[in-house]
């Protein structure tokens, strides 16, 4: 494989870390610090940093760094314009996003359901927990070739890979959440006369919501990573495929443009989940 799979979340995190490190360095004097603490000042500083990096990239490309590796912002922008104006990008975006979304929903639902089953039934837990522990340390993306063999290079193998990754993430988060629940809550409900179903509905499900949402938030990154990895490995559609085929043609602007689109998709999806979390867990603020 000539292109490395990219974790869009990690890319964004690195960018933010670079920005904030630079921002804190610039605030050396007192007055400068107060300017950058102000939200508008901070936003201005961040935009300035991004612009500075883009300028350095643009003019460093071909002089400081070989253009064939780093491309340049203008070339990447041109590539994006070309993809969008020809409309060729939409099919690829739809392929990646739908594989990620379908796998995410299936995996998350099954993960939470399994977690509840294990957490609520001692028998199921005793029988199944060794498998759960054994699978904990397995990097699920290593299963990608297996899914390609069994399900082909179409969307099914990507959905399966996404679903499995997200499944285990949500399973472990649900189990952690159940373990961490205050036992006093269920005892209190039981004493008031609640039956098992009422305890699950009133105590356990709402009680593990913070863990489920933290799993769902991280799961967005997992889902895109898995979908793109599947496409990089084998496929004829999707953003991962676009990156892979650009790499095959030493077209670095195509790689960066693909990564850029991935970052945007991942950030938007994470924001949607974060909003839902704020709405459902409004009692925490």
């Amino acid at each position: 494989m000539s292109a490395q799979p990219r974790d869009p979340g990690a890319a964004a995190a690195v960018a933010v870390a670079v920005m904030s490190a630079a921002a804190s360095r610039t605030g050396a004097s007192e007055s400068a610090r107060s300017v950058f603490l102000h939200p508008v000042g901070r936003a201005a500083a961040q935009i300035a940093i991004v612009l500075a990096m883009l300028v350095l990239w643009q003019f460093g490309s071909g002089t400081l760094f070989p253009r064939v590796w780093v491309s340049s912002p203008s070339a990447i922008f041109a590539r994006l314009v070309q993809w969008f104006s020809s409309g060729s990008i939409w099919g690829h975006m739809a392929a990646t996003v739908s594989a990620a979304a379908i796998g995410y929903v299936l995996g998350a639902a099954a993960g939470v359901a399994t977690g509840l089953l294990l957490g609520l039934s001692r028998k199921a837990e005793q029988i199944l927990s060794p498998f759960v522990i054994a699978l904990y340390s397995l990097p699920k993306v290593a299963l990608a070739p297996f899914f390609v063999i069994f399900l082909g290079i179409g969307i099914e193998s990507k959905i399966a890979l996404v679903a499995v990754t997200v499944y285990f993430l949500l399973l472990y988060n649900t189990l952690d959440g159940l373990r961490d629940l205050d036992r006093g809550w269920a005892d209190a409900y039981r004493l008031m006369g609640a039956n098992d179903r009422e305890i699950v509905r009133n105590v356990m499900l709402p009680g593990i919501m913070p863990w489920i949402f933290s799993g769902l938030r991280i799961g967005v990154r997992y889902a895109f990573t898995a979908a793109v990895l599947g496409e990089l490995l084998a496929g004829n559609q999707g953003i991962g495929y676009l990156i892979e085929s650009s790499a095959g043609q030493f077209n670095s602007s195509g790689i960066f443009a693909g990564v850029f689109i991935l970052v945007v998709c991942s950030v938007v999806a994470t924001e949607v989940i974060s909003r839902a979390e704020k709405f459902v867990l409004h009692w925490r603020n």
């Binding site: 809550w185 005892d187 409900y189 004493l191 006369g193 609640a194 039956n195 919501m209 867990l281 009692w283």
Partner: protein, 263 residues
Amino acid sequence: MAHQLIELKDISKSFQREQTIIAALSPVNLAVRREEFVAFVGPSGCGKSTILNMVAGLLPPTTGQLSYDGAPVRDLNRRVGYMTQKDTLLPWRNVADNIGAPLELACHKTGKTGRMDKIRQMVELVGLKGFEKHFPGELSGGMRRRVALARMLIYDPETLLMDEPFGALDAQLKLVMHDEIQRIVSLGHKTVLFVTHDLSEAIALADRVVVFSSRPGQIKIVRDIDLPRPRDVFRIRFSPRFTELHEELWDELKDEVKKGTDT
């Protein structure tokens, strides 16, 4: 002879922590009559909460027989309402929804309007009007205790177990709550086990005060409180009989409290 409502016969409790066994409660004998108000006082860690947990059926005794209304307590004892020492309010439910929680359960099913009415009554009873929409995380310790109290009272359990219910309240509010509790208990013919650190509170409210000795807990003395009812909780402290009982019980209690701080 008719059985007593709550009977502890040679009840003891020890906890195992890793390799060591901690004796929390030495064998204790106590019988509580129906409609009796019994207060427990004693140093921290002498097993008062442990007794309430056992009466509620949340914890099995290590030795002895515990019965409720003539039958051994094996499982959860759903005839008691339990206001635990550490509150168990659900942080994602606001005050009104926490208080109304028992009435949403199939076993106490109440229609929405009936539930709203009862919640309103309870909110007023515990003096939390205007805080219905607040979440537990936004309340002071004393307010949370009152929410827990209201949640227990709303479904009208036969027996009330209260573990330091008013510890976090200021002196005036405490008296107001004493007055309410006394009224509810006598109107509702409740049996009460009441744990407190406040000896005056115990004497003002209870028919009998049980003084425990320090860990492993043991009953040091059981004292009948022969103050006539109904009691004026706001003035009873000034009666000579109250002072006598207070002095007598304080002498018993202070040695234990001292011992507790020595170890």
